[in-house]
């Protein structure tokens, strides 16, 4: 079977979100998760720029530059939503009030370390935004990423080569090939896409 598409991956994450959860979706692929969450799941989305309980983009022509998510995309607020300042927003994130943060990843280590904010190259400008606050503060950190880099190397590794976003925080990894839990005893494959075997997607040693 083919690896999951990005939308299929996003849908898989959406299905896994607990009922009633407060969730922050990182920029990039994690933001695709929103459209796959069923209303019956009663999930509340948080955005670090100061927004709780919002939905997808407004109809064409109705976008408002004052109403955006953390990825600067126009969104709509839902009944029961609220606006607040960055201080209270980061209290929600750092204070453990979010149930799940779904983040993109460059690499995840077998011990749950996450790299997703900077390549470490001297001429690559850093850009952290709220990634470290989320990774350190949400109750569960789920990573949504391709299983392998474009040139075929595993992104789940023994040890991250890229600068870390946070240490030992990732609890679940959703890829185009598998769903993997990060447990104290190690990585546990919860699901695999049919036709793929674990030896094909087990952690690599990481970049030299």
């Amino acid at each position: 079977m083919a690896p999951l598409t990005r939308e299929q991956m996003a849908a898989r994450v959406a299905r896994a979100l607990p009922h009633g959860a407060f969730v922050n979706l990182g920029i990039g692929m994690p933001s695709l998760v929103a459209r796959h969450i069923a209303p019956a799941q009663d999930v509340t989305l948080h955005s670090e720029n100061g927004l709780l309980l919002f939905g997808g983009p407004p109809p064409a022509g109705m976008a408002d530059t004052d109403l955006v998510d953390a990825g600067k995309n126009p969104v709509t607020i839902l009944p029961g939503g609220s606006y607040f300042d960055s201080s209270l927003s980061f209290s929600m994130m750092r204070g453990g009030h979010l149930d799940v943060a779904v983040l993109g990843g460059f690499e995840v280590s077998a011990g749950g370390d996450l790299s997703n904010w900077w390549t470490g190259a001297a001429d690559d400008p850093q850009g952290v935004g709220g990634a470290m606050d989320l990774a350190s503060g949400a109750r569960q950190i789920w990573v949504l990423m391709e299983h392998r880099t474009r040139d075929g190397r595993p992104k789940i590794v023994e040890r991250c080569a890229y600068p870390l976003t946070a240490r030992g925080v990732v609890t679940r990894i959703f890829t185009d090939l598998a769903v993997i839990a990060v447990r104290r005893e190690g990585l546990v494959v919860e699901e695999m896409v049919g036709g793929w075997i674990w030896t094909a997607c087990r952690p690599g040693p990481g970049r030299a």
Binding site: T44, L53, I77, P79, G80, S82, S91, G95
Partner: protein
């Protein structure tokens, strides 16, 4: 979107246990959650640590818990207004820890915001705490102050738990709502989601676990 509304004060305080730390909103009479306090009184739980600005003024506020022997420790900024609190403390039957009001609220905020502490202005009441000089001024390390339950009074609430307050009844409640494991709010008006302008929400629903409408008198024994 979860529905936070419970049917009775009794349901709102359910789970309060011996030895718990409880935050009670209010400054003077403004914002004291009388219905929730009465429901707690009916539970009769003991050995509580109560965190509040005042220790009550007599009658149906925190004083009623103290008089009922439910409280073993009070953390507050101004205990003197409660005759029962003062008398039991003088008899050695109640521990009272007095904090500057600003330290009290800052420590709540630390707990709610996931901070390990605040480097706060040194005061006489902080003597003995770890201190340091930054930019020529003396500061002390103040640690987070958490609770198992916060009982607060809001004005308008929606089913999702968004809250507004009324006038100076707001005081400590927004910070207490961030600092407790379980937050129960009594409210004077209950509306459907959308009934509070999202610009006017003071405490977003993420911080609130239970909402009870004032006058929900099912708690009475």
């Amino acid at each position: 979107m979860p529905d936070r509304v419970v049917d009775s004060y009794r349901d709102a305080v359910a789970g309060l246990r011996r030895g718990d730390a409880v935050m009670l909103g209010g400054f003077g009479a403004a914002g004291v959650p009388l219905g929730l306090i009465a429901a707690g009184l009916a539970l009769g739980v003991r050995d509580l640590t109560v965190i509040a600005n005042n220790a009550g003024f007599g009658g149906a506020d925190l004083t009623s818990w103290i008089e009922a022997g439910m409280v073993s420790r009070v953390i507050c900024s101004y205990p003197r207004t409660s005759p029962a609190c003062v008398a039991l403390w003088q008899q050695g039957r109640l521990a009272v820890e007095v904090l500057p009001q600003g330290t009290l609220v800052e420590r709540m905020r630390c707990a709610g915001a996931g901070l390990g502490g605040a480097v706060s202005v040194g005061t006489v009441l902080a003597e003995g705490k770890e201190s340091r000089v930054i930019d020529g001024r003396e500061y002390v390390l103040e640690l987070p102050l958490r609770a198992d339950m916060a009982l607060i009074r809001a004005h308008r609430a929606d089913r999702f738990g968004n809250l507004t307050y009324r006038m100076t009844a707001r005081n400590f409640a927004p910070m207490m709502a961030t600092a407790a494991k379980l937050v129960a709010a009594e409210c004077a008006e209950l509306v459907e989601p959308g009934g509070i302008d999202p610009e006017h929400v003071v405490t977003p629903g993420i911080f609130v676990d239970r909402v009870v409408m004032q006058g929900s008198l099912a708690w009475r024994p």
